[in-house]
């Protein structure tokens, strides 16, 4: 299969290792990965901040970028960005009366998958150790991000895959379904409320005793990791793509908050 990678802006700029891990997983399965060079961002930050005109330009760029290459499916290591591509792009175009763009955005959206959606629903991956050779001998906990859970209805796809990684110990996160308080510019506009949410999330993570918290959205992990780091917690965050890509021969380190983004 020809798979177009939508790295997402935050992974591209801040967590390139997550994108490289995504590529590794797919290539290990024998697929061809391409990177549409025109891509930048899904525009969610603009949309969710009410800047629809700007958001539409960002969305239009995405649509163009993913129309300019031939592929079977597109994939992103982010539930939130995929939800934006699927739901918000057509909405932005419709609101502006651009039926043409709405139609094109819908077509791109229909071919776009969140990483575990692609792995489980399309590529039939149910056992990461067996099928991907995943090996990660650490104790982790897992935060299901809101948009993956409620907009994409990922259900237990992410958690179930993590549990099948070789050597891993996944401990349940109390109140896992509670938002971490990121919410894009919410974390700036309503920083105090966001912080109160973050503190509870961090406390729950600490209570598990796990050395790190995984998840499927780099933005939430950036937020959670930022809170853990500020609190001086021992635990860090790591995107699930890096755990799935980790093997006995080529293991991912379990990072602390201080090294999470730099590898």
């Amino acid at each position: 299969m020809r798979i177009a990678l939508f790295a997402t802006c935050i992974v591209d700029a801040m967590y390139p290792s997550t994108a490289r891990a995504t590529v590794k997983i797919l290539e290990r399965l024998g697929h061809e990965v391409l990177f549409p060079a025109g891509q930048a961002c899904c525009g969610q930050m603009h949309t969710n901040s009410g800047y629809f005109d700007a958001a539409r330009k960002v969305a239009a760029n995405h649509v163009e970028a993913f129309e300019s290459v031939e592929y079977d499916v597109a994939v992103a290591p982010s539930g939130s960005c995929v939800a934006s591509v699927k739901h918000q792009h057509p909405m932005l175009a419709e609101r502006a009366g651009d039926a043409g763009l709405a139609e094109r955005a819908t077509a791109v959206g229909a071919k776009t998958y969140e990483l575990t959606q692609l792995l489980v629903d399309v590529l039939d991956i149910t056992d990461a150790a067996e099928q991907l050779g995943s090996w990660f001998p650490h104790t982790i906990t897992y935060h299901p991000s809101c948009h993956g859970m409620r907009l994409l209805r990922l259900g237990d796809r992410q958690l179930d895959l993590l549990k099948t990684v070789g050597g891993i110990d996944v401990v349940e996160l109390p109140e896992a379904d509670q938002c971490c308080g990121f919410g894009g510019t919410f974390s700036m506009k309503n920083s105090q409320v966001s912080t109160a949410m973050l503190e509870d999330k961090a406390e729950n993570i600490r209570s598990t005793g796990a050395g790190l918290c995984s998840g499927g959205d780099a933005s939430c992990l950036l937020h959670i990791g930022g809170g853990l780091s500020r609190a001086g917690a021992a635990a860090g965050t790591l995107h699930l793509a890096e755990i799935l890509a980790s093997t006995l021969e080529d293991p991912a380190e379990a990072p602390s908050t201080t090294t999470g983004a730099t590898r």
Binding site: V11, P16, C146, K189, S191, Q192, M197, G225, G226
Partner: protein, 494 residues
């Protein structure tokens, strides 16, 4: 609360008036409320209790999603055909001896109710909890007119006795714990046993004793309504304590104030809404008492029966095609009970009668995004979507929040040409993120961030109000040496 009426005549007449605005910017109000640790503990306890109860009783029904869909569709259908449904209700209610009044706004509704009470000669009224009368500030108005209004719902009583404001639409005193309730009762109920404990059952008994005489002697009652059935002219009130039954049954005169959006097409629709509402609100299979009345029944209950149909900004909300489904709300309160923001700030931070996620959209839709501090309400959400999942009539609150943020940005840009800090940030991001080439150029500067980060590879403080707000409680990791895009190119890949 009556101070919110000041300056209203300058608002367009179609807008709602009354207790419907954010009174200060939400972040400011929220920060203050967050500092109240007792409040936070009370709210956390109450919201977590109700969440579990709701999940249990909802999980029991195999057809919950079918009921939600039917509820949502029924509401959409009513709204699309509202004039006909209201006319049908009016004709049926009138045919059975009820009297229908129409009120454009809060002032008109208050005037109508006051006149009706005056006609009876009574100088006091008993009240069943009603969001509509809270919204229009009826109690305050009646008081100014020399009419005493007694709230009879336990939580409303707590709020009234404590000279407080409701903070939740179902449990207005949710912000008070049992000990605080006991203290209010001890102070405000002259007849109460000084040995009263904070056991909720004992507190309920104190309320029973306090109100008993009022009920038995009341001549006039004022209620809201949970729904009106167009095809029969029936009204319904859903409650727990029996105070509703007391008010709806014993007095001679009953005046109901109800928003025009509460009408349902047929009596059959009760089979949907009476499954959705109790399970979503108190997390019970059914609330203890539901009363239905259709105009006047000879020899049973009030013989002088009125309804005031209230607009007060509802048509303003209806005119917004992206926001109108907010009117589908059946006031169950599930959205606020599951909301992580409400859980931490409580209802007072939202200013309006309607707090929580639904309030954050309803207040600006009814009274205008630019009115008072309404513009700050749609941002009072991380868009986590828990409210949409919980809503029994499937109101897509997150989408409407986003829509109203757009309205707010538009309104701000119309009001001022000076760009805000957010404008500048967004413009910069728009340029960077609308093109892979530009983003690539910007990413070349990533190593600079590593310098800022310093030795522990964390960025701990950024300038500016917005970015500074982020780093007030969160570190940012030092950026990588090169972007993924760069790496990909250097690898020589397509």
């Amino acid at each position: 609360m009556s101070s919110t009426f000041v300056g209203m005549p300058t608002l367009p007449s179609q807008r709602g008036h009354g207790n419907l605005h954010a009174e200060e910017p939400f972040p400011q109000a929220a920060t203050r409320e967050l500092g109240n640790t007792q409040l936070r503990a009370n709210l956390r306890h109450a919201t977590h209790t109700i969440r579990d109860k709701r999940l249990n009783v909802v999980g029991e029904l195999p057809d919950w999603e079918d009921l939600r869909q039917a509820g949502s569709d029924t509401k959409d259908a009513v709204m699309a055909d509202l004039p006909a449904k209201l006319e049908e209700f009016e004709a049926n209610f009138t045919a059975r001896g009820g009297v229908v009044h129409w009120a454009r706004d809060a002032e008109e509704a208050n005037r109508i109710v006051t006149d009706l009470v005056r006609e009876t000669g009574s100088e006091e009224v008993v009240k069943v909890k009603s969001m509509a009368t809270q919204e229009i500030g009826l109690n305050e108005h009646l008081e100014e007119q020399g009419i005493a209004a007694f709230e009879t719902d336990l939580a409303e009583l707590i709020v009234q006795l404590g000279d407080d404001k409701p903070s939740h639409i179902l449990v207005p005193a949710i912000h008070k714990n049992r000990t605080e309730v006991r203290d209010i009762f001890l102070q405000e109920m002259p007849e109460v046993d000084p040995a009263l404990t904070d056991n909720p059952a004992e507190l309920a008994m104190a309320a029973r004793a306090h109100l008993r005489k009022k009920f038995l002697g009341a001549k006039v009652a004022i209620s809201g309504a949970n729904f009106a059935l167009a095809d029969t002219g029936t009204l319904g009130v859903v409650e727990s304590e029996g105070n509703g039954r007391m008010c709806l049954t014993l007095p001679e005169t009953l005046i109901t104030v109800m928003g025009i959006e509460k009408v349902l097409p047929t009596a059959q629709d009760l089979e949907v809404f009476m499954q959705l509402l109790p399970r979503s609100s108190t997390g019970e299979r059914m609330n203890p008492y539901t009363s239905l009345w259709t105009g006047v029944t000879e020899g049973d209950g009030p013989q002088n029966v009125h309804i005031v149909l209230l607009d007060n900004g509802r048509t303003n909300a209806l005119a917004d095609k992206y926001g109108r489904t907010a009117l589908n709300c059946i006031r169950c309160s599930a959205c606020m009970n599951v909301c992580p923001v409400y859980e931490r700030t409580g209802g007072h931070a939202y200013g309006s009668t309607y707090p929580g996620p639904i309030g954050a959209i309803l207040s600006p839709l009814m009274t205008g995004i630019e009115a008072e501090d309404n513009g700050s309400l749609p941002y009072a959400s991380s868009l986590c979507g828990a409210c949409y999942d919980a809503c029994p009539v499937k109101i897509n609150i997150p989408d409407i929040l986003v829509h109203l943020r757009g309205e707010d940005v538009k309104a701000q840009h119309e009001a001022s040409r000076v760009p805000t800090e957010m404008d500048v940030l967004m413009k910069g991001a728009e340029i960077a993120l609308s093109s892979g080439k530009v983003l690539n150029l910007m990413e070349k500067a990533l190593p600079l961030g590593r310098l800022v980060a310093g030795r522990d590879k964390k960025i701990k403080k950024l300038p500016g109000k917005l970015a500074g707000a982020w780093t007030s409680s969160r570190d940012i990791p030092a950026p990588p040496a090169q972007s993924f895009r760069d790496w990909w190119k250097k690898e020589g890949r397509a």
